[in-house]
Structures are given as C-alpha cells and as structure tokens.
C-alpha cells in the first residue's frame, strides 16, 4: 500500500509506525469507523426503501390541489376517489406530508419537513461552534453552544413526534395506510424511526457531554476532544437526514 517503497527516508513517512498515519487519536478514528459502518446500516434501510419504491409505479402528477389552497377534513378520502391515493402506486409525498401545526386545513406540502431540516442543520452549526470553542478551551462558550445543540435536537424530536402523530391519526400503521402500498408507511416509520433513535441517542450523548463540560472534566484533561467525537456523530445524524429528506419527501 501507501508510499513506503524501498529507501524512503525515515521521519517523513507517516505510515512508518510509532504514530497515527492520519494524525488522529484512536478515539476519533474509532468514531469515524463506527460512522462508516453506521452509514452502511442506514444504506441498507434506504436500499430496501429504493427497492420497494421502484417495484411500484409512480403516481399521476397532482393537478388538483394547489399549494396554500384549502383542504377539507376528508382530504384523504377525496384523494382516494381521484385515484391519487391507491395501493397500486406510490403516493406523492406532497399530498401526504402537507400539514403544519396550528395551520389546520391548508395544503402546505413540505413546509413542516423543511422546518425540521433547518432545525437539524442549525443544531449541527451550534455543535460545530461548540467544537471550535473547545479548540480555544473556552469552557463557557462550549457549554452555551452545547445547550443550543441539545435544544435543537429536542426540537427536532418534538417535530418528528408531531409528524408521526399526524401521520398515525390519518390512519397510517405498520401494516396498512390510506395513502398507498402497505410498505409506504412501514418504511416511513422504520427509516425515520431509526433516524430518530439516532437523534435521541445523540441528544443523550450531548447531555452527558454538557454535564462533563460543566463539571470541568475536559478542562482538566487538557482538551475538548470528546466534544469533537460526539460532534462527529451529531453531524452524521444530520447527514443521514439530508438523504432521508431527499428520498422520502422529494422523490
């Protein structure tokens, strides 16, 4: 592999042993490797989604319901009548995820999930700012940014809970739904649920880190690498959401 052909001069050889070739600590390397394998777990679920999605034809384009228009309480039944919701083809995400809290009765496709996306991206930013503050050993700043990150994560989980509730009240279960093929809702629950579980674990980890920051554990240790490692995990969760968002809501 690498660059160690014969007669390379010693000191510059990063693969020569005695130090990390990547110049990262073992803990960070482990986190990277774990994230790589976790990416494969998500990939397998998204692959399953792609497989099942592609085994069904796409729906007719929606030319009936316009964004911001009024929708009745029997919206799902109406859609079934028009043939846009049928077990024969995959439903259009805009017709399914069209609710927004407190704005009942208006067709607002994608608005809520966009909000969720922004929340998650924003919490990613505060996380990376916490990491940056950690490099400067600024304990107070790290703690503040951690609080913001935790709040962002919690807000995302809250949004997800609301969306799930909405979805379930409209009749979606693991073994059936009024929108389309059985697997539509089941896949939604599994993939967003698995992602939500990751967010939840991330929030728990962040809380632990926050407590440790306050207790001064990392200050004593001399570096805030633990914030960095958990930060990697948190960004990964954000990264996965980018793809969940793309595949479940846009395509």
């Amino acid at each position: 592999m690498a660059n160690s052909t014969t007669l390379t001069t010693g000191k510059q050889n990063i693969w020569g042993g005695g130090k990390s070739p990547f110049s990262v600590s073992y803990g960070k390397l482990m986190m990277w490797i774990f994230l790589l394998s976790d990416a494969f777990t998500f990939s397998s679920l998204l692959t399953a989604y792609g497989f099942i999605r592609y085994s069904f034809p796409s729906s007719q384009p929606n030319e009936i319901v316009k964004p911001m228009s009024h929708v009745s309480d029997q919206f799902v039944e109406e859609m079934q009548h028009t043939g846009l919701f049928s077990t024969e083809h995959w439903p259009l995400p805009e017709l399914v995820f069209n609710h927004f809290p407190f704005l009942h009765g208006i067709h607002l496709p994608l608005f809520f999930v966009s909000l969720m996306t922004f929340v998650l991206i924003f919490s990613s930013v505060t996380m990376v700012l916490a990491v940056e503050a950690g490099h400067r050993m600024a304990k107070k700043e790290v703690a503040n940014y951690m609080v913001l990150t935790i709040l962002g994560g919690a807000a995302f989980l809250g949004c997800q809970a609301w969306e799930w509730t909405q979805f379930i009240t409209e009749g979606a279960t693991l073994h059936g739904n009024p929108f389309g093929p059985t697997a539509f809702a089941a896949l939604f629950f599994i993939v967003t649920g698995f992602h939500g579980f990751h967010v939840f674990s991330g929030v728990v980890l962040n809380v632990i880190i926050y407590i440790n920051v306050l207790a001064g554990t990392y200050e004593k240790r001399g570096h805030y690498e633990m914030v960095e490692k958990v930060g990697l995990y948190w960004h990964f969760v954000d990264l996965v959401w980018v793809f969940v968002f793309t595949f479940f809501y846009l395509i």
């Binding site: 690498a2 990277w32 497989f51 999605r53 384009p61 994608l110 930060g231």
Partner: protein, 107 residues
C-alpha cells in the same frame, strides 16, 4: 508533540468560525433550492429530476462532511478510507433499483 497519543494536530484554519457560517448559508440555500425545484417540477416525472435531487443531496452531504465534520482538514488517507467504501453502497443501490424495477415487472 509526542507527549500524548495524538501528534501534530491537523491544522484548524483560523477563520473556522467564518467557514462554519458560510457553510450554514450554503446548506440553507441548497435546501431552499431543493424545495423551490420541487414545486417548479411538480408535474414532471423523470429519472432526471430524481438525479437532480440526489445530486443536490450529495452536495449538501459534501459540505456537512467537509466542513462540519472537519474532513477537509484531515489527511488524505483518512478521507480515502472513509469515502471509497461508500462506492459499495452506490453499487448496492443501483443494483437494487434495477432489481426493484424488475420485481414490479414480474409482480
């Protein structure tokens, strides 16, 4: 710097904060573009549209990994070690889409 396990720290640029905010605005803009395109292309159904969204997703992923996850500043081999294995996923996904299509055909 041999005193502890990690050695020369991979350099963090001094304008890191600035880069973070820049990345945030890029991600923000890309998401807006995503949503905008979605409404513009509502009535089109083609594989091309899907590719467009996936490409946008990959661009977003790039910014998250490169800046937020600090990958841009890591050594080349770490980047290779993490990025190249993802090609297997691409292979898996492409094959499974073909297979899913076929499953629909024979159903």
């Amino acid at each position: 710097m041999e005193h502890s396990e990690h050695l020369e720290h991979t350099e963090t640029p001094s304008n890191m904060k600035q880069q973070i905010w820049k990345t945030f605005w890029i991600l923000f803009a890309l998401t807006i573009v995503d949503i905008g395109l979605y409404f513009m292309l509502l009535s089109t159904h083609s594989m091309l549209k899907n590719f467009l969204f996936i490409a946008l997703g990959i661009v977003k992923a790039f910014y998250i990994v490169a800046v937020f996850m600090h990958m841009k500043f890591e050594r080349k081999w770490l980047v290779n070690f993490i990025v190249y294995p993802m090609l297997f996923v691409v292979f898996l996904v492409i094959l499974m889409l073909i297979e899913g299509d076929f499953t629909g055909l024979v159903r």
